[in-house]
Structure formats: C-alpha cells, structure tokens
Amino acid sequence: MSSPSDPPTTTAPGAVIHDIGYRPYSGPRLGERAVAWSFFVTGLRNSFGLGRSGRSKILPLGLVGLMLLPALILVGVLVQARDLLGLDEHIVPYSTYPITTQLLISIFVAAQAPALISRDLRFRTITLYLARPARRTTYVLVRLASLMAATFVLIAAPLLLLYVGGLLADLPPGRETRLVLGALAGALLLASCLACLAALLSALTVRRGLAVAAVIVVLLVSYTVVATIQGISLDTGNETVGEVAGLFSPYTLVNGVQVFLFDSPEATATPPTSDAMGFLYLAAAAVTVLSAVGAMLARYRKVSG
C-alpha cells in the first residue's frame, strides 16, 4: 500500500494526481433534529434494501410485490365483475387484509428488524453512532421509527390500492374513505406493535439468524395458538376465553381494537364484544408498544460501545 503523500510517479502514464492537501470544512452543520431525520430516512431506505447490496433488495421488495398482488387481483375482479357478482363492497375488507397476508408481514419484520438492529450490535457499529452528537435515546427511538415506518408502508400500500380500486369501481366514496382511514389507523398500530416486538427480540442477540428465527416463531406461533383457542372457545360457547386469548397475538389484538374503535368487520372468531373488553384491548396494545420501547431503552443503556 502506498502512502497518500507519495509523489504521483507510480500512477499510469498521462494520469497525474494533484495533492491539494487537507481542506478544512467551514460549511453549515445541522442540528439534532436534522441529523435524526437523515438517520430515520437512511433506516427506512435500508429496510427496503435501498442503499444496500443488490442481494438485500430481493426479499423486502419481493414481499412488497407479494403484498400488492392479491389486492391487485381483488381490485381487478371488483372492477370487471361488479355487476355480474352483485358486489357493493370489497371482497376482502380493509381491516381483514393484514390478517390474511400476515405471513408476508411477519417475514418482512423478522428479516428487516435484525438488519437494522442486530447488525449495529454485531459489527459494533453502534460505537461509531454513540461517538456522534446524537444521544443514545435518539438512536434507539429513530431506529424503532424507521422499522415502524417501513412496516407501515408494507401494510398500508395494498390498502391504498384497494381504496383506489374501490373508487374506480364506483363504491360509495364516503363509506370507503371512512373504512380505509380506520384500516390505516389499524395498520399504524399493527406496524408499531410488530416493529417494537421484533426490534426488542433483535436487540437481545447479535446473531442475525437467531433474531430472524425468534421473531418468526414468536409471531407465527402466537397467532396459531390464539386462533386455535378462539376457534375452540367459539365452538364450546366460552367466548370470553377466546376474547382474552386475542390479546396475545399482535394480529388479533389490533384487529380487535379496530372492531372496537371503528366497528370494522371482524376477522377473528371471537372479537371483543363488551366495552370493557374493548378498552382492555386498547390498553394491551398501548402496553405492548410502550413496554417494548422501555425495554429497548434499558437494553441500550448497557451497551458501552
């Protein structure tokens, strides 16, 4: 390796490198909020593989495509065969779509949370961030926000496609707007729950594969168990058991909140029926997000860099 101060005698004939020396920087330096914003945008882009290697684009962008595909088909059917089938509403309601496509959403979160969170711990890049002006808390919150926003984009994109398709198919605009806004609020809540849980699991390990597996297992197993209990409780008439069980998977939890708050069509066997249960669902969602954020902050207080 040659020192940068070497004379340009070693370069190719005709090419001359002029060493103009070190130039100090006298331009503007941005404040804390601007730095946090640029960190957020970078994290959001990285979640979809943008600004990373070509290989890391395949999975997230492929999942976005797969998420949109059913919505596209549903819209196509609605527009083409509305009169034929006598449809006056969406074949799959907005609020049900995330539960139907939950496998794709779970895979996305499981793959991208470790890419954002475990990576910095594994390569100890976190040291470089901690040695910059931003505070530790800012780092944690911005990383969470990036993951949350990326997950929201993934969940909300097909909902918007359905909405536009519905308007093209002359569904009543007022009703559709009300429904899609409720579903988008639900998507935001679901993205928050999923991102916080996945980020926390990823922050506990520096092994990326382990984090991916842990997130997948927690999300899929919890949903399968909850859905089974709900099915049995409906069949045996113990619906309260099923309603309580619904608290323990992010998908059924958020769907229950939507049923309670926006009167959305139910997508689970036993949605919350009473007001008390509805408030319990809301409280459980809030506790999930806040305790995960708190645990993340506590976890990073121990990271010395």
């Binding site: 020192s3 101060s5 914003w37 640029s38 931003a134």
Partner: protein
C-alpha cells in the same frame, strides 16, 4: 427530502486555541471491583499527543469519559473547553473517534459508511459526500472504497475507521491503537498519516499505543499512564534528551571494541561496553571526541560511528516501574 429544523452552526463558536485541548483535574473512575482512573491530572495541547500504558492502564476508560459516554466517579474533564459531564453532545460534534476494535459493517462500502457518518455528525448530504471522498483519498483508500468492507484487509479497515473519524473535520481526533494488527509497512504508513493529521491537517491528535517506539516517532508530547495514575507527562523531546554520552563503534579487528575501550579507560575516560559491540563514553568536554578519534587511529581501527546518545521513552518505564509496557 429537505431536513427540517436545519440550523447553521456559527463558525465563531469554534474553539480557538486559548484553552488546552484536553484538561482533566482529579479525574477518577471506579468500577465496583477496580479503579480504572485514579486522581488523574492531565493537560493535552495541540499537535500529536501519545497516550502510553499497558493494557488495562485506563486508556480506553479515559477516552470514553472524554467523549462523554461514561460518567466519571469524581473529578472534572474538559475537552476543547467543554465539560464532559454536561456538554458531551457538543464535544462529540467536534471530536473524531477511531475505536480500537472492529466496528465496520461487512455489507456496506467504506464510501457509503463515511458519507453516512458525516451526516450523523451534522454535515448536509452533498457536503458529507465531498468530505468523504476527500478523507478517503487522504487515508489512501482508492477504488476499494466502493467494495463491501467485509472483504477488507486489516490495513484497509484501519484506514476506513480513520476516515470516518475525520469526515466531519473535527478539532480533535482520539485514535485508539490505530496500528493494531498492521504489518510493519502498513504501520509506517499509518504513523505517517497520524503525524500528518497533527501537523498538516491542523487537527489535534490523542493517539494511544502500548508500543513506545511508535509514539516516540510521531508524538510531540507523551502522557504515560500506569494503573490509572499519571506516571509522567512531558514533551517527547524531554524524554529523548541527551545523556551527555557518546556512542562509539569501531571495526577492523575481532576484539576492536575491547581494545578501544581499554585504551579509553587508560586515557582516563569513563567508558563501558553497551548494546551490540559498541562503546559508550562519558563526554567530559570538547576534547573527548578528539581523544576517541586519535586512539582509534593509533590502534589502526576503523571508526564507524560516533554519535550522541539519546534517552528512549522506555527508559522512563525502567525508572518508573511500569514494566509491563512493551518497548519496540
């Protein structure tokens, strides 16, 4: 996307050199079972300052405190005039840090990382790109800067780590063992670069090493730590002051050094054998050199070398008792 709340940081607020770059007073850091720093009073100025100490002497703890990442148990520390306890964020915006350990993500290129880190230090994107390209050139990363860093050699990784510490044009860089794991020629390059940063670039440097010979070459000032205490802090030239002795080497016969040594003693001078087959002679006055020359001629020996003998930094350790530091 335009960043919200962009504020211009007025250049007038920059540190102008009236105060020491680093000043600590009674700085102490105690962990439950060990005292990492014990009543440390250090003052570091511009130029290159070497921080020497064995592993566990408290070098890395001191750096963490200076960056405002770890609170001190007692005592105070100021960096560029700012208090580490309350103005850590301000300090971190003016300081560059090159950690000792690996910290580079394997799937990102050096170019992307340095641009990103520039932005994290508050540079707008276009400026971060320009600065990144500049510093990568200065540290000597050419086309390889566009490749993922997972495939870099140790030398290239150290250069990338150094580049990210320089991208925001800091007033001070803290370099933790920058020559660790480098082969001799890369180590020379790195040391030359450290020297350039402190002189040409005009950035104050605090560089740690457990290898004394390295710091002797690049530092203006050396701070020696031993078990969290300050063993010595002085200009490198003080460490290397003249001993008042001459180092003489002669050739021509197998026992040439012994012959000349005996002749010198017979002539009334104090002389003794020293490293290799050389003779150390106490230089009493101006005539000592002539006596050495004349005796060598009389004995028919070839006078290969006659020079003043300097101290080396490691002599301080022999005197001070910090024997675990490795001299080079």
């Amino acid at each position: 996307m335009a960043p919200p709340g962009a504020t211009v940081w007025e250049p007038g607020s920059r540190y102008v050199g009236a105060v020491g770059v680093i000043e600590t007073a009674g700085l102490t850091k105690r962990y439950p079972r060990v005292t990492a720093l014990d009543q440390l009073d250090v003052k570091v100025g511009d130029g290159v300052t070497g921080l020497v100490g064995a592993n566990g002497a408290g070098k890395s703890t001191l750096i963490k405190i200076l960056l405002g990442l770890t609170p001190a148990t007692s005592g105070t520390a100021h960096v560029l005039g700012y208090d580490v306890a309350t103005e850590g964020s301000r300090i971190r915006s003016l300081v560059g840090y090159m950690p000792e350990h690996d910290c580079l993500p394997a799937d990102v290129s050096a170019s992307d990382l340095v641009v990103h880190m520039g932005q994290m230090s508050g540079l707008p994107y276009p400026a971060a790109r320009e600065r990144a390209s500049d510093v990568l050139r200065h540290v000597g990363l050419a086309e390889e800067r566009y490749r993922p860093m997972g495939g870099y050699s140790t030398g290239m990784k150290q250069r990338a780590k150094l580049a990210q510490a320089l991208v925001h044009d800091p007033r001070l860089v803290l370099l933790d063992e920058p020559t660790n794991g480098l082969d001799p020629s890369s180590r020379d390059d790195m040391l030359a670069l450290v020297r350039r940063i402190g002189t040409e670039f005009g950035i104050a440097v605090l560089v740690t090493s457990h290898l004394l010979g390295e710091l002797e070459r690049v530092s203006d000032h050396v701070v020696v730590l031993d078990s969290g205490r300050l063993l010595r802090s002085s200009a490198t030239t003080d460490f290397l002051h003249k001993t008042g002795n001459l180092l003489v080497e002669v050739q021509g016969r197998p026992d040439a050094d012994r012959l000349l040594g005996q002749a010198l003693v017979n002539a009334g001078l104090r002389a003794w054998p020293t490293d290799g087959r050389m003779i150390e002679v106490e230089a009493r006055d101006e005539t000592t050199r002539d006596v050495v020359r004349d005796l060598a001629v009389d004995l028919g020996l070839g006078l290969v070398r006659m020079q003043e003998r300097h101290h080396r930094i490691e002599d301080v350790f022999r005197e001070g008792g910090a024997g675990s530091v490795q001299p080079v």
